[in-house]
Symmetry: C2
């Protein structure tokens, strides 16, 4: 792994727990000198931006891997269900890695990242809308609300894992099941 990637990974990890971590702390966490960090990233903002870009690429890759576009075009209920499942699992796996990108002001306020994130969210909402049409997801709530609620569950699963309230191996199933069936008894 290149020094650049080492720094990037350490920053992603550290900033998730402490968004205010300084460049010096990031350098220490990466096991490199502070000057070296600046050699690879002109400024703190640059570093955050790069993390944002990578996180969005990861997100886009998840959508691609789940075959989102084709599934939406097909509109088949079973395929939609499977696609949702794949997508949720990918999210849970990436939750802590792309966490900062979803919450840090520096990342959120970068216009280009904001735009790409909106595009990805909107892209994803097409799946929810298709799911509503196919009778997979309930149609009495806005499709975009379904997107937000899944995002909220990702925050929840991260917290639950940190506080040790759920087992890592159960995480995907809990999110899937809660997103679809909710918490009420049957």
């Amino acid at each position: 792994m290149s020094t650049r990637d080492t720094v990037l990974a350490a920053a992603q990890r550290l900033l998730t727990t402490d968004p205010t971590a300084s460049m010096a702390q990031i350098a220490t966490a990466a096991g490199v000198g502070r000057a070296t960090v600046h050699r690879h990233f002109a400024s703190r903002e640059d570093l955050l931006h790069e993390i944002g870009v990578r996180s969005l690429e990861r997100w886009a890759e998840s959508q691609r891997a789940a075959g989102l576009a084709e599934v939406v075009a097909a509109g088949d209920a079973d395929r939609i269900r499977a696609c949702l499942e794949v997508l949720i699992d990918a999210f849970v796996v990436d939750a802590d890695e792309i966490g900062i990108a979803l919450t840090d002001p520096t990342v959120l306020n970068a216009p280009d990242l904001r735009e790409r994130a909106d595009a990805l969210f909107t892209q994803e909402v097409t799946l929810y809308a298709a799911a509503q049409d196919a009778g997979v997801l309930r149609a009495d709530v806005p499709a975009r609300w379904l997107g937000h609620s899944l995002y909220g569950l990702l925050i929840a699963v991260r917290d639950a894992l940190v506080s040790g309230d759920i087992a890592r191996r159960d995480a995907e199933a809990l999110v899937r099941s809660t997103f679809l069936e909710g918490g009420a008894a049957r």
Copy 2:
């Protein structure tokens, strides 16, 4: 409203949108001088701590107003359902007000606040557990997970409101319905 309360309210509002807002920005938002802020709060940490205390009091008050303790003791399914509803509505109303207290590192890392928040969460989980026993909430997931997932939905509703994806008047119903029934079609 006392100057102190004015500052507190402005800080709560401002910090929700920008957690890194400086004391000067807070002072401006409150319409007072920077020195005045420091007259009422010895340090930035003090101010944050006070906000945390108030948010936790609000939370505790919501539990009291919903009669949580008595409902848990009674264990009656209908009363549990009603209690949940009242609690969720109160959360949605307070979501943006106590938002910072749930995310800001300064608040989260204060040991005394951390302890009180844990106590309140645990208290609330007794309701979820009682709801599971009474057949109101599903019993095949950890009670604490239900707590986390509701918390996640609060984050979601705040985001959805900010981005204009849902109407304010629909917020409570969406959270209630999504928490209980999930997103799958029936």
